[in-house]
């Protein structure tokens, strides 16, 4: 079961552990701010059956540390971030390569009150699994951005449902986000 190429990752969401291929382990070459000693993470699905824009960024080193991350372009079509030259260098991201961008969600039981951090997105180079959290030095985006959904009322459809109909090809497999520089 545990081949040489796999490790068992424990998570508060998967207490029995999830087998993860070593080749899928993400390494933060510049740490998530405030979490300097946590370098290795993996991305886990929340729900295997549906194509949803949320995932779990799980620390390999501490089963209690994980973040809910979201695909920002699912909610904010025009969200694009510059990747600085030195960031490309530490990610070993060449001009032709694409990186994927995730944003960290501060989740509340009420999705309407949950926010995503558009000011400090995570950039992952899918070729080598190097990652950083970059910080945007402008006022364009908020660290506490609400999602574009209406407050749930029992008989109205939420904006999120409408968005999901328009973008129903977005799913776990859609990892080809280009860097916008």
């Amino acid at each position: 079961m545990n081949g040489e190429n796999e490790i068992l990752v424990r998570s508060i969401y998967y207490p029995d552990g999830v087998t993860v291929e070593k080749s899928k382990i993400i390494e933060f070459v510049k740490p998530i701010l405030g979490f300097n000693s946590y370098k290795k993470f993996c991305i886990l699905n929340i729900n295997k059956e549906e194509n949803i824009p949320f995932f779990i960024l799980q620390s390999i080193e501490d089963e209690k540390l994980c973040f809910i991350i979201a695909d920002p372009n699912f909610f904010f079509k025009d969200y694009s971030i510059p990747i600085l030259e030195e960031e490309k260098e530490i990610l070993c991201l060449s001009a032709k390569e694409k990186a994927i961008i995730f944003v960290i969600m501060t989740a509340c039981p009420d999705l309407y009150l949950s926010t995503v951090n558009l000011k400090g997105p995570i950039i992952i180079n899918t070729k080598n699994n190097k990652a950083i959290q970059t910080v945007l030095n402008n006022d364009m985006y908020s660290a506490k951005q609400k999602l574009p959904i209406v407050k749930n009322s029992s008989d109205s459809r939420s904006d999120l449902q409408r968005v999901s109909k328009l973008t129903d090809s977005i799913g776990v497999e859609n990892k080809n986000k280009s860097d916008m520089l």
């Binding site: 929340i46 994980c66 749930n152």
Partner: protein, 78 residues
């Protein structure tokens, strides 16, 4: 906290790889030049604090798996 006084043009070394130079001083504003490896992030502290704070908030999840699945499934029901 170590406090040093430097004049314009003078520098400080932190460890082997980080150098800080006082470029100019105008009134209350100091222009500071920083030389550091790419892996070392350099940010205005206010900005660092905003992001770090939000990261810590985000990591303090008080949702269990069922809550989380429900939370995420609900708005996406077709």
């Amino acid at each position: 906290m170590l406090i040093l006084a430097r004049k314009t043009g003078e520098s400080i070394k932190i460890g082997d790889a980080i150098t800080i130079e006082i470029i100019s001083v105008t009134g209350n504003t100091v222009r500071i030049g920083i030389d550091a490896p790419k892996e070392v992030g350099i940010l205005r502290k206010e900005l660092y604090d905003v992001i770090e704070n939000e990261n810590v908030n985000a990591s303090n999840l008080n949702l269990d798996f069922e809550d989380l699945s429900k939370l995420i499934k609900k708005p996406l029901k077709k």
